[in-house]
């Protein structure tokens, strides 16, 4: 580096510091994508996240479409590592948009120890998830099952009457995951 004396030391340091700061900001940006993604999913219904409303809201529907029915299908999955059997007691329902509907799921613990699990819901097509709201769901809390216990678990939901006309079938899927902590 024994070289030119007129090296612009100050300028070099300034550029370098600015670039390091940019790199640090971009590292933070990577993490800020996490909440950003959640917001985006909520707005677009991407990812099939379902909404929660109170019973009060559910009982005061906008306009009821007397002649319209939407088919709601139920899909159940159990993630690896959870020794449960899990099924929907009704495979599908025809529901009237705006009307509060009830259905039941059933989970059985196949193991000889008590196990806790939590269910993650998802709605397809994603456009429908914005119009799919629940007032009660077993997925709101962690479920714990004793050895060989079978439990009936209710869900109450409303398909919003504003759901687009081209959506005739909505699939609600639940995946049960093993939960380590007992809440």
């Amino acid at each position: 580096m024994a070289g030119r004396k007129i090296l612009n030391r100050q300028g070099i340091n300034k550029t370098a510091i600015r670039l390091v700061v940019t790199a640090v900001i971009m590292f933070g940006f990577g993490f800020s994508l996490v909440p950003l993604y959640d917001v985006l999913c909520e707005v677009t219904g991407l990812n099939g996240k379902t909404g929660v409303i109170s019973r009060q809201e559910a009982k005061s529907p906008g306009e009821l479409h007397e002649d319209r029915l939407v088919k709601v299908q139920f899909v159940t999955n159990v993630a690896v590592g959870l020794p449960w059997r899990f099924k929907a007691l009704e495979k599908e329902l025809f529901v009237r948009p705006g009307k509060l509907t009830f259905t039941n799921f059933q989970a059985t613990n196949l193991s000889q120890s008590s196990v806790a699990g939590s269910a993650v819901p998802s709605v397809a097509p994603s456009i429908a998830s914005r119009y799919f709201n629940k007032t009660d769901c077993f997925c709101f809390v962690v479920q714990s099952l004793d050895p060989n216990q079978t439990k009936i678990m209710p869900v109450a939901f409303v398909v919003d009457s504003k759901i687009p006309d081209n959506v005739d079938v909505v699939t609600l899927s639940y995946t049960f995951f093993k939960t380590e902590e007992k809440i």
Partner: protein, 533 residues
């Protein structure tokens, strides 16, 4: 390292420090450039050996030589090594060697950072390569590290994550250095729009590196905490989402592919005018095209994941922006063709590789366009068509331009001409075999052969056999490249200072071999006025 000692044999009279510790402590941009290039050449053969194992297993249907887990780790490691260990360090090596000489600077702006950036690399790759020998084997979940699969990696997992961290730090260091050099150390008279295109493409690459690699570092850090510290960024059980990893990863990943290819555009824009003996057509449009590509690269990421279930509006947005990239890329290709138009062309080895680049990279670009069309991507996704596409843009794109650049500047570095006959052999062997290797993979993909699987249905047997034969010939041909380089470093016909009679640029005004310290006094502004690009 022995080769690099030889590389320098011509410079000793220019008070270069001697002894092996010189390489550990050097801050000279030419030394560090040589180390980067030799390192990436070594990694090229390690990653290449893995590719040979892959092609061996795929030579016939059924499982013959390796078990599926090892096959998957070969696929994963081959990608990580070729991307982070070959192409990225090689471009930093070229930047080190050439940018100070091209802009009339005595050295890089931050020489100690430069030394650090290089020496992180051997350690990072030791971490990564060591995983081949630990229980559970090397990472096998693909270089894209998608959870939840990658979280099933055994003891190799933290090695993988920290290696990626180190590699990122190294590249960011290199990028900061290049940008600080170009913005503060240009010779008087060297305005931004007089810079050679290789420098311009590197400026943009530098910004891409600094903006995208920290995002990757963040993503792999989240993987690490998901596995060991109970977070659930990507675990649905805890309220996270594995698809989010894909979004974050490709937000890095798409700029990354331009990090690998933009300097190649710069190299080709230096070589074609030299051998067409005409100035580059549309210099400014080239600069703007590169900038446009870089900007677009940040808003197209989800075209890597059309099949995850996006809203229609999302699919359309990413399809249109993706296809929009064809416009600036087309500007570049047409400019190269226009540069050659009515030029007095000769076909020395660097020119052959540059022409091979223009034609074959364009084929890769076309298959990229096909992949960018959402509805058909549902068919092509995760098939060999994708494999064929990115090998056309990376092997006959990035690697070809690296080889072209090596032949082009090797006489300047060593002071000797390489053997032109052998160079031409290298080109024709490589070009025929690389097409035998990758072209059939298009057909395999269209017929539905999935990628990253060690076995396949028997109807794919013929094309796979052809592809494997091409692969081995291509791999062996690269040994010729090493032989030519070593021979050239050791001796050969004396190279003139200008080396190529159509060459323009400040680096050609220096002696051959380039003295250990160059441009201690800035070059005469009139040389720059006369046109250097």
């Amino acid at each position: 390292m022995a080769d690099s000692m030889n590389l320098d044999s011509g410079h000793h009279e220019h008070h270069a420090p001697s002894g092996w510790t010189r390489w550990l402590t050097t801050t000279n941009h030419k030394d560090i450039g040589s180390m980067y290039l030799i390192f990436s050449l070594i990694m090229f053969f390690i990653g290449g050996a893995m590719a040979m194992i892959i092609r061996l297993e795929l030579f016939q249907p059924g499982l013959q030589f390796v078990d599926p887990q090892f096959y998957n780790s070969m696929v994963t490691m081959h990608a990580l090594i070729m991307i982070f260990g070959v192409v990225m360090p090689a471009w930093t090596g070229f930047a080190n060697w050439l940018i100070p000489m091209m802009i009339g600077a005595p050295d890089m702006a931050l020489p100690r950072l430069n030394n650090w950036s290089f020496w992180i690399l051997p350690f990072a790759f030791s971490l990564l390569l060591l995983t081949l020998f630990i229980p559970g084997g090397a990472p096998a979940g693909g270089w894209t590290m998608y959870p939840p699969l990658v979280l099933q990696t055994g003891a190799a997992f933290p090695f993988l994550i920290f290696a990626v961290h180190f590699l990122g730090a190294s590249s960011i260091g290199g990028a900061i250095n290049v940008l600080a050099t170009v913005f503060n150390m240009r010779a008087p008279g060297m305005t931004l729009l007089k810079l050679p295109l290789f420098v311009w493409t590197w400026i943009i690459t530098g910004f891409l590196l600094i903006a995208s690699l920290p995002v990757l570092a963040g993503a792999v850090t989240m993987l690490l905490t998901d596995k060991y510290f109970g977070t659930s960024f990507f675990s649905a059980a805890g309220g996270g989402d594995p698809v989010m990893f894909q979004h974050i990863f490709w937000f890095f990943g798409h700029p990354e592919v331009y990090i690998l290819i933009l300097p190649a555009f710069g190299v080709v824009s230096a070589i074609i005018p030299t051998f067409a003996r005409k100035p580059l057509f549309g210099y400014q449009s080239m600069v703007y095209a590169v900038a446009a590509i870089a900007f677009l690269s940040f808003i197209v990421w989800a075209h890597h994941m059309f099949t995850v279930g996006m809203p229609l509006a999302g699919e359309l947005f990413f399809m249109y922006t993706t296809i929009l990239i064809a416009v600036p890329t087309g500007v570049k290709v047409f400019n190269w063709v226009a540069t050659m138009w009515k030029g007095a062309m000769t076909f020395e080895t660097p020119m052959l590789f540059a022409l091979g680049f223009v034609i074959l990279f364009t084929i890769g670009g076309f298959s990229g366009l096909m992949l960018g069309v959402t509805p058909v991507d549902f068919q092509y996704h995760d098939t060999y068509f994708v494999v064929a596409h990115f090998h056309y843009v990376l092997v006959t794109g990035a690697i070809y331009s690296l080889i072209a650049a090596t032949y082009f500047w090797l006489p300047k570095w060593t002071g000797h001409m390489y053997n032109e006959t052998l160079g031409k052999w290298h080109f024709w062997l490589s070009t025929i075999s690389v097409n035998v290797l990758f072209f059939p993979q298009h057909f395999l993909g269209l017929a539905g052969m999935p990628r990253r699987i060690p076995d396949y249905s028997v109807q794919f047997a013929e094309f796979n056999m052809i592809s494997s034969i091409g692969g081995w010939v291509y791999g062996l041909s690269q040994l010729l490249f090493v032989y030519i380089i070593i021979k050239c470093v050791r001796g050969g016909k004396k190279a003139s200072d200008r080396v190529w009679d159509g060459a323009h640029g400040l680096e050609w005004t220096l002696a051959s071999p380039a003295p250990y310290h160059s441009f201690d006094t800035p070059p005469d502004p009139s040389t720059i006025e006369g046109g250097v690009r």
